[in-house]
Amino acid sequence: MFAHLFGKEISMKGAILGFPDMDVFVLAPVDQDNPESPFAYLQCLEQPEVGFLVTNPFVFHANYEFQLSDQDRSRLQADDPGKIVVLSIVTIANPFFDSTVNLLAPILIQYEAGIGMQTVLAGECNYTTREPLFRRSAKEGGEV
């Protein structure tokens, strides 16, 4: 799913909120045996201990949508929005099936130029930083 991105250096220039000093990140596979896995590992090259599990949010939230701002598009040098890959950071829970995903602040990567950023979606959107990843919390499962 992300094979064309693996190993490519992505310059974030501090745009991952909370990590103002971190620039260069690299995307690596989580499961080499499954090229269709919607998960990947985004690791900071400067501080390898900082890494995130990321996912393709559209796989789990098929109706996910947002407007790409002109400002973000120009920062990403994306004349063609088709060059942008959208990733969401996963907050891992135990059990893993209860993990959540940040739909409020997706990571956008323009892979041709190797530029990335975390953007904050406009105030009108209803997404949060902790949406269920698999859409079934343990509690809901018990109520069925």
Binding site: G18, V30, G51, I89, T91, G123
Partner: protein, 83 residues
């Protein structure tokens, strides 16, 4: 930090295209209007704070990668069964 006093209805200009207006005040609540070009991002600071917090809580050290492979693989097959 620049600190200014404004009355209800008064505003300040930032550059020549961003206007911040004091719309009303009620007790310790201040209603603020912001007129800015669409290219300017305006968010409540709590939104930024919550995203920073979420990012920090989401750090997955690289030594977890082998277990992530197993966890994501299991969860995916469980999820696909339920779909």
């Amino acid at each position: 930090m620049l600190i200014l006093s404004r009355k209800k209805g008064q505003s300040i200009m930032i550059n020549d295209d961003i206007e911040v207006i004091v719309v009303s005040t009620e007790g310790d609540q201040v209603k603020i209007g912001i007129r800015a070009p669409s290219s300017i991002k305006v968010h409540r600071k709590e939104i930024y704070d919550s995203i920073q917090e979420s990012n920090l809580a989401s750090i997955a050290p690289a030594d977890q990668l082998p277990s992530l492979k197993q966890l994501t693989g299991q969860a995916l097959s469980e999820w696909q069964k339920e779909k």
